[in-house]
Structures are given as C-alpha cells and as structure tokens.
Amino acid sequence: MSPISHGFRRRHTVPDGAADRVPPGQYVTDGFPVLSAGPTPRTPLTEWTFSVRQGTGTLKSWTWQEFQELPAETVTVDIHCVTRWSKLDTEWRGVSVSTLLDQVAHNAGYIMAFSDGGYTTNLPLADVTGGKAWVVFSYGGRPLEPEHGGPARLLVPHLYFWKSAKWIRGLELMEADQPGFWENYGYHMYGDPWKEQRYQGD
C-alpha cells in the first residue's frame, strides 16, 4: 500500500483523446528531451556505414549513399522514455529493419544494435521485423540532429526509447539474448512501456 502524500495532486494533464496512448507512469511532453551517457559522436557521412554482422563476419554493409537509396518510409508514432516522458505523433523517415534483414540469410532470434560511442541495446528479432522498427535519418522532415541520434538512429516505438539506439551503425545477429549497455546496468531486458518494464525484475 503506497503512502498517501496529502496535498500532492495531479498537475500534468493528458491531451484530449490521448488517454489510451499514454502508458502507465508516463506524462506527455511537447519538448524533445535528450538523454545519453557520454559525448555526442560525430561521424562524417563519408565514413558512415551500416553493417549487419553475425559472429565474426559482416553479412552486409551499406555506405550512407547506398543506405539512402533503400526504400524509405515516413512513420508517425508515439515514443516513451523510461525517464517517464512520452511524446505523441513524432514523425520520422527511414528504412524498415525488415528491408535490411531481408537482404541477409540468417536464423537469429535476437539482435544487438550497436552505435558510435560504444552504445549497444538488445532486442528480440520479432520486435524489429514486420514493420515494427526502422533505422531513421530524418525527424519532423529534417535531417536527424546529432543530439537526437543523427545521422541515423534505431526507432522501435513500442518499447522504451533506450531501445531506439542513437548513432546506430549496425545490427549484430544473435542466437541467444544478451544484455546491452543499459541492460547491463539494471534496466529491463525487454522494456515494454505498457507493462512498466523499466528495471530488472519489473
């Protein structure tokens, strides 16, 4: 039983009609907060590549130019950060992860997204295929800014936003699930905002 804080009351309101879009424990913000564990990497596009790896081998790699030539989609989604803000109707453009993985033969059950700066995060394959995840390079119609993960970040809107790795450079295919960066520091392996899977044990 939670103790009652007398005098404490709700101050944040949910936008009209959006009540069922805001997961428990979240509030809606119009801003776009930034959270990261270290400096913002700045890789020139001429050096940028996106790789799909398995074990020690690279199965497929695209340059920035090649990546731009892949079929892209514009998606409008709600995003939910584990620090409790949610942002509704965010518009992104990028390449579906299915489009990328369809170009390699594999039997992986999980992936580890890896990024410039050493960040990693793990996801079940089923959560990044079938039109559930994208590698995006534009936000709100403009190139994605470095502090928000540009030139390209992962977008997996149905999970907490730490799974949407900024500065992504590729996907490592894995047979078994393994913890990524924040997952090693006590955050949940899966991170479903609707179940409030914030930390280990949730």
């Binding site: 939670s2 103790p3 009652i4 804080s5 007398h6 005098g7 404490f8 009351r9 709700r10 101050r11 944040h12 424990g25 509030y27 809606v28 913000t29 119009d30 801003g31 776009f32 907060p33 930034v34 959270l35 990261s36 564990a37 270290g38 400096p39 913002t40 990497p41 620090t83 409790r84 803000w85 700066g117 050493g118 502090e147 960066f181 924040w182 090693n184 520091y185 006590g186 930390y199």
Partner: protein
C-alpha cells in the same frame, strides 16, 4: 532547492553518482514517479537534493510540502554508469551546471570518505551566487580538490574570484585537466550545457569513453 534526507530501512546501498526514484500518491490514487540524483556518498544516509521546477509535478511537493516524518515510496538505487568509486581513480574532472552539482557532490563526498587521493578539479556553473549550493561544504574539501566557479547571469560587485561567463570550449581549455593526464570526467547539467562540455572535452582530446554524462532539466514538462 532542498536537500531531503531519507531513512530507508531496506536500502541496499548505493554508489556515488547513482539516482533513485520517488513515487508520490495523491489522495485520489493518482501517482507520479521521478528520478533524483543521490546527493550522499556510499554508506551515508540516503539524501536527495531537489530543485523546484515551476512546471513540475513532483518537485513542488518535495520542496514545499513534504514534512519531516512523512513517508515516501522510494526505489533504487538506479543507474550504474555515471558512478565513481575510489578504485576508478583520477584525475577527476567534475563539471556541473545548476542542480547538476548534486551527483558530483556525492562523488566529492565519496572521495573524502574513502581517503582517495585522486586529484579533483570541479568546475561549477550557476546563474547567480545565491544559486550555488553546498558552497561551504565544497570549500571544506582541500587536499587535491580545486574548485572553479562561474556565474552566468550575475557579475558580483564585491570579492568574487570566480569566472562570470558561460562554460564554453575556451573556458574548458583554461580550466580542465590536460588530456595527457588521462582524466576521468563527469558532466551533469541541462542538455545544452552537457552537450557543450562533453563535446568541448572530446575536442580537447579527452577519451569519449572517459567522459560520463548525465542530463537534467531536458524533460520538458517535468
């Protein structure tokens, strides 16, 4: 700004730099939970220092209404990357903007309690002299601790020996440890502050993996 000491009977212990979650429940059942940096060192009673945010939901209650003896729901500690222990050594560069000083205070206390001799430079930026917190306490750290203050919206007329300018690459070049000393940096503050400092340190040659950041105040309607 208010420092709140918490008596948490089942607290599993924390490390300097970690945070915790405070959950408030209203009489009508509505609840809200927020994260706060722990201000005390490992082994000390758990304390948080809360800055009142005008558009906040939890911080106005914690800073203005919470009384001694009231019960809170607390979860933690949380986080394990923005953390310093004596074995991590130094030299340490601590850069705080506004309430970003809170976890750095925890690290300073940790250093003192553990008897570490890691040299420290603390660069602490606030809007005005009256907004500098823990100032007397910080002044008591002596051996191996250099403190550099800067004020961004006030130019005190009398006896101010610190800087009166924003932290920018030039100020970092003047005050931060040279990269050749292989420093370990902890940077905490508002997003734009952290971006400037972390980027500036990397430009000075700091190893990105040794520049740890924590951002406050970027959460819009918090």
């Amino acid at each position: 700004m208010r420092t709140i000491e918490l008596n948490v009977p089942s607290w599993p212990g924390h490390r300097a730099g970690q945070h915790l979650d405070v959950k408030l429940t209203a009489e009508d059942g509505y609840s809200a939970e927020r994260s706060y940096s722990i201000a005390s060192a490992a082994g000390e009673p758990v304390a948080i220092t809360v800055e009142r945010l005008d558009d906040g939901e939890v911080s106005p209650y914690l800073t203005e209404e919470l009384g001694v003896g009231d019960e809170l729901e607390v979860r933690g500690p949380v986080g394990g990357y923005f953390v310093w222990e004596a074995a991590d050594g130094g030299p340490l560069l601590l850069v705080g903007g506004g309430s970003g000083i809170v976890p750095l205070r925890s690290i300073l206390r940790q250093r003192g309690l553990s008897g570490s001799d890691a040299p420290v430079r603390l660069l602490y930026s606030a809007r005005a002299r009256s907004e500098l917190i823990y100032r007397d306490e910080i002044a008591r750290h002596r051996d191996g601790v250099e403190v550099i203050y800067t004020l961004t919206r006030e130019q005190p007329a009398d006896g101010w020996t610190g800087y009166t300018r924003r932290v920018d690459p030039a100020l970092l070049a003047e005050t931060a440890w040279p990269a050749g000393k292989h420093p370990l940096a902890f940077v905490c503050g508002p997003t734009s502050f952290v971006e400037t400092v972390a980027g500036g340190l990397v430009a000075l040659g700091y190893e990105p993996g040794r520049v740890k950041t924590e951002r406050f105040g970027g959460t819009g309607g918090r």
